[in-house]
Each structure stands twice: as structure tokens, then as C-alpha cells.
């Protein structure tokens, strides 16, 4: 596995760290395409509840999901620090709304702990692990699972219902 090899080589992963309802999360920097400011999102009817809509990213139509809604977390108000993280996962470019992006952290692999079964209302299935860095708890997300696991079934369910 390519990822495994890389971890052995570098002994640490670079993580983009962001805030979601006052918690700190991290995702692998390799998946991140870019980070943009909030912009007007065109809602798309008859899609799963966590799909916010679509945006125009330099001529491409990109779906945007709200991570809070995804994890059924209390919704935070959009502020000037809200961002859309554009990720490239599973061949699709997808935007994720977060409350703010703080930094890029180097996370030594040996500091990553397996996730507890449930943390801050998020099922462990979506997590890669947790890491304590500078006294902060960073929840590392498994994007493949976050974006595809439930979504796919829910997206499909929507398709079936209306077909």
C-alpha cells in the first residue's frame, strides 16, 4: 500500500487541521486540493440533507457538503473564518464546509492513537485515530469513509426513492 510505505519513510504525516463546533480535526494533506473562503452555494434539491449544494470552482461544478450536518453536530453559524476545504477523494472533487482552518501540522505516526468507539458524537468508523499535539486533542478523519460510506447509501436511497 502506497500510504503504508510513505508512513514508514516519513515517520510522520502532514495534516490540515480545522475547527468544527469547537473541536479540532485533521485530515491528510494529500487529499486537500485547496482551501477557499465561503461563497454563495447553489442548493441542489432532492439530495441528501448534508449536501449543501454546488459551487463554481473556476468553471467546474463542485458539490459541497456540510461536515456538521454530516456528523449530526450542532450547526455553527457561518463566520468570516468559515472555509470550504476542497478535497480530492475517490476520483471526485468535493468541498467540505468547516468553521475554520488553523494550520498544517506534522503528526508523528507514533503519536496517533486508535479512536475510542465514539467521540464527540462521531462514530469511530469515520475516524483514523486521535492525536495529542501540544496538549490539544486532534481528531483524525478517514475521508474515504466520511465522504463515501453513509453518503453513498443515502445518495442511492434518494435515487431509488425517486426513480
Amino acid at each position: 500500500m502506497a500510504k503504508g510505505e510513505k508512513q514508514i519513510d516519513s515517520k510522520e504525516d502532514q495534516m490540515v487541521v480545522f475547527q468544527l463546533t469547537e473541536q479540532t480535526y485533521g485530515i491528510d494533506i494529500d487529499a486537500v486540493f485547496e482551501i477557499i473562503r465561503m461563497e454563495a452555494i447553489t442548493r441542489v434539491p432532492r439530495t441528501p440533507h448534508f449536501v449543501e449544494g454546488v459551487i463554481n470552482l473556476r468553471g467546474k461544478i463542485i458539490p459541497v457538503i456540510d461536515l456538521c450536518k454530516r456528523f449530526n453536530l450542532p450547526l455553527a453559524e457561518r463566520t468570516s473564518s468559515s472555509r470550504i476545504i476542497i478535497v480530492d477523494v475517490g476520483g471526485n472533487t468535493i468541498g467540505m464546509i468547516v468553521d475554520g482552518v488553523s494550520e498544517v501540522l506534522r503528526v508523528p505516526l507514533d503519536s496517533i492513537e486508535p479512536p475510542p468507539p465514539m467521540i464527540h458524537g462521531i462514530d469511530a468508523a469515520y475516524l483514523r485515530g486521535i492525536a495529542i499535539l501540544d496538549g490539544r486533542l486532534v481528531i483524525l478523519l478517514n475521508l474515504d469513509k466520511v465522504l463515501y460510506e453513509h453518503e453513498q447509501s443515502e445518495l442511492q436511497r434518494f435515487g431509488v426513492e425517486t426513480a
Binding site: A40, T42, R43, V44, P45, R46, T47, V51, G53, V54, I55, N56, R58, G59, K60, I61, I62, P63, G91, N92, T93, I94, L147, L155, G159, T162, A163
Partner: protein
Amino acid sequence: MFSDEEISVFLDELEEKIQVLNENILVLEREGGSQEALQEIFRAAHTIKGSSAVMGYDKMASLTHEIENLFDQMRKGLLPVSGPLVDTLFMALDTLQILRDEIIGKDVSVDIEQVVTSLKQFQGIGSPPSPGEAPESGRGPSKQPAGAIDDGIGEVEEDVIREAELKGLQAYWVTVQLDAGCQMKSVRAFLVFETLQQMGEVIKSQPPAEDIQEGNFETGFRVILLTGEDPDRVRNLLMTVSEVAKTEVNRIKLAAGQEVREQAASDASAEKTEQAARADHEVKTVQTVRVDVQKLDTLMNLVGELVIDRTRLNRFAEIFEGRFGSGSGDMVETMNEISSHLGQVAGDLQEQIMKARMLPVAQVFNRFPRMVRDLAQKLNKEVDFIVEGHETELDRNVIEVIGDPLIHLIRNALDHGVEGPEERVRLGKPRNGVLKLKASYMENHIIITIQDDGKGMDPVKLRAKAVEKGLINGEVAQRMSDQEALNLIFLPGFSTVAKVSDLSGRGVGMDIVRSHIEQINGITDVSSVPGVGTTFTIKLPLTLAIIRALMVELGNEQFAFPLTNVVETISVKAEEIKRVKHNEVILVRGRVLPLVRLSDIFERETCAEMDRLFVVVLGIGEKKVGVIVDKLLGELEIVIKSLGDYLGKVPCLSGATILGDGQVALIVDVRSLVKEIGVEEAVYAAS
């Protein structure tokens, strides 16, 4: 082995050459032994033979070799063009096509033996009983003792000469006659060879070079010389060799398959045509530059970005002016200038890229003449097939889709439209039917018409047929206008011919044709006059990537309805809306129009109930539905973009588009919308 790239170039070339062969054999059939057509054919066959041999496709090489031989004889006038000959040639071409399919991995296998045998039979007719007699049969009286000459140019020499001609050299038969009393023939001959080799290349001599060098010849010999020199100069130089009594320099013109004595005037013109032919050839090569469509799409997106940045630049200029006031006058002006120029360039760029995606409709049309010929023959009908507007360009996606519907319409026209020759004569029509296929531009559309002068369609019969088939009831049939009756042929399961032939009339035809065309936002129309003929008109958008759309507003969002599906827009008073069970309807010109609210379909809040409502009337085929929207915004040209794989197929939406200000508007999928409402209707009807 050869790379994929090389093979694909070879296949492209092959396809092109097969098309050339097809076209020119049709010309031969029509006009008899046209030299020009024969020339083209010969060249194409020769190219295929050469390249397939190089690529190692032996079957193809040997087949084309036989074809080439046959054409060689036709070219020399040894073999007249005849019906069976043309049939055999077409058969050979079909075999060639199958061989091509074999290369691209289609699971077909073909035996070329049979075709080769029949090709050889014809060669048997053409080839002379004995070599000596051949020249007389095919030559004009003015020819010099040419029997020997003809034998002199074998296939190998021909190839070499052709190659030389491409390099701008000419081939000549140089005949040298030495003095009768010459003592040192071999020496003189050697000198002659030396002289010739200074000017060019000797590729053949008669008698063979060894014999000449040893003096084993009468008093004369002749050689084939390839040179760029003037023939007169060649002659003069040779005359400087002592004891040379006479020289003759005759240009070899392979083009005509015969050699012609040097004649300034005729030669000049011949050279011109050759050059022209070569120029033609070159143009074709340029056309085969291939670009991945994906790349063009990417380019298109980049241009879109450019346009959006330009809008941002504009806005920034305004802010800039606001902040720094008039003191910055010049700078703002310059910035606006740059911005507008940028916009212009981006616009042009977009147009050019759109054009690059277009292909001439000839891509599809070219295979029809052959098809019409074969069909007409099968049906014993005589038809003049006229094609116009080859060069009309269409988006490649559209081109891919229109092929099948057109084939169906042409088959129908031949099978059901055009009468047999006897019947036509009896009806006082010209013996030959006329089938016309035409493509042309009209505003932002392409119009393709297929017109025959056959028996036409009788609305009365169509009505009766539809009632008989249970597609409509008698009362409806009586109310129908003639035009509506004609449109009955587009109903699924409608076929006017009782006898099912293998060509058309399976009863799945016209509705499939229409739905294919609708798929690409096209419209199919028919007009027909009994006894005079039928015309099918297909109206297609220039491209699938850009459509004209009616923009509407719901809440504060914009939606786009493709204009091809919009029948009309009307404004109605709230009290005009009637309720039938759960459904809202209105009466439009005496007809009930089911209504649906866009806000319900898309689960949106709408502006408060108003007195006047705007209704967009949508039509798919015969089905009409009214959609209530908040506001009509007008028409706009929009670029269709997919919503992407992540969202997949969203019900009632076919994609999205980016508006001038960078905002995204959703495009309504009218087809699925109407279908959805149709389901509800059915439920209501059943209850």
C-alpha cells in the same frame, strides 16, 4: 511490433482510403471508366496494399493486390466497367472493411479466398490471351511499337517511378540508337550510361545492363531514367557521345498507365493536374490531426475561468476607482481597457474551441451513397441520390447520434417512399426516383432534410391505421388535422406497411428515430403530399455543450429550462386554476393543461401567492405540462455542465450552468420532470 499510435494512424488512413474507394467506384458505376476516378482508386488501393504489407496484414495486402491489378487493367482500358464488376469490387471493399474490423479486435473472421477468386476471374477477362497481343487492343493508333515498352515497366519499376515523381523527378524512356557501323558498342553504351547517371538514375534497361556492357545488343537499347533535368538537355547531352546516331526521350506517365511522347503543352497540363491531385492529398493529411476531446473540454473550462476573472477584474476596477477617486482616472481607464480586451479574447477563444469540437457532417453522410445504391439494387428501384451540405459542421456528440436515425429515414424513403421504375413510368413520373439528403445552417441550428419524390403518405390512411391498431380512437382521429395525422407515424407501434420487410417496417422505427433526435435536443418534423413525396426535417442544435435556455426564478434562485422543450409561456390569474382531485389544471385554448409548481418539485419556498402566476408550458412529444414559476427572466445561452459523479443523477435535473456573474444555476431535466408528473397523472386516472 508496431505501436498503438502507428496502428491507429494506419487504421485512420485505411478508413479514409476505403471511403475513397467506395466513392470512386460509385463514380465509375455512374459515369463509366472515368480516368480521374480510376486514378484515385488506383492510388488508394496501392497505398493500402503498401501499408498493410508493411504492417504485416497479409490477407489485406493480397486482397488489395488483386484489387489493384484489376484497376490497373481498367485503367489501361483492357477491362470495361460492368455491373457485375462493380458488385465484385464492392464485395471486395466490404471484405476489406471486415479485415479492418478484425484488426481493431472485433470478433469476426473472414475468408478472402472467394473474393480473390472472383477478382481473378475478372482479371482473366481483362488480361490478354498472350502477352504479345495486349498492346494493340488497348492502344491508340499513334503509338509507336509499344508492345515491348509496356512489358518493360514492371511493378517494381512502377513503384520506384511513383516514388520519384513524389520527389519531383520525372521518368523517361531513353532510347539510344548507335551508328550501324559502330565498332565499340559496349564502350559507347558505357559512355551513354555514364552521361545518364550524371543527370539522374537509371533504374532499368533493355536489354539488361550486363548484356549492354558486353555489347550483346543490336544497334540500340533503351533505359528508364529518373531525372529532374529537361528532356531536351538529356537528348543533347547524349548526342555529344560519339557514334550515337539517334536518341529519343519519352516521358513515362504512369498516371495514365501509358507513356506519352514528350509534348510540351499536354505535359504541362498533366503536371498541373498531378500537382493538384497531390495538393488535394496534402489537404486531407492536414485534416487528420487528432485531438482528445477531453483536452478540448479542459481548454473550455480554462476559458470559463478566464471570463470569470475578467468579471472580477471589472469589479475590482470599480472598487479601485471608488477608493482612489478621480486622481486615478488614467489607471482605471487602462484597467477597464485591459479587462474588456481580455473579455474579447476569451470570447474568441471560446468560439474557436467550440469550433474545434465540430466535425463536418460528411463523416456520416459519406457512407450513405453506397448504402442507397445497395438498397436500391435490392429493392429493384432506380434512385438518384443527391447529397448537399457535406461541409456543414456539427458537434461530434451530435454526429455520433444522428447516424442511426438517418439510416432509418433513408431506408424508409427507399422502401416505402420511392416507387419502382415501372410504376413511376405508369404514374407519369420520371423513371428514376430522387432522394435528396441535405444539411444546412439556420440560425443556431442545423437543418437536415431527407426528401423523396415517392408516393407520399395519405393522412386518411394514417388515421384509419392508427384506429385499427388501437393507438387512438375514432373520434380523436376525426378531430385530427392532416398534420397531426402525419405525426401519428411517430407513435410507438405504428407501421404503415402490412408486409414486414427486412429493410424497414418493423414498426419500431419512427418513434425510435424521434426519441434519438430528442435525446440531442433535436426536433423531427414530417410533411408529405400523397403522390408527390415526403420530406423529413430534423432540426438539431449546433452543439450539445451549449443550449439556449429559458431562465426562471424561484425564490431567489435561478433555474434553466432548455428552450427546445419550452412550448410557450403564459401568465394566468390565480382563480383560473382549477382543481381536479389533487391536481391543478388550467384550460388553455380549450384544452386541459396539467399544472405543477416548481416549488413543489424542488421542495422550495416560493414567494407568497400572487394574483398572477407565470406558467412555462413544456412539451415532450405530444405530452404537455405547465410549470408554475415565480418569475420569467428571459432567454440565455448556457454551457451545460454535469453535477458530477458524487451527486450522481439528481431527479429532475440534467446539470448546472455557470452564469455571467459566476453563480451556478440548475438546469431542469424536462424529460424526467414530465415523466414524474405523468406517473401522478396515471395514479389519478386509475383512481
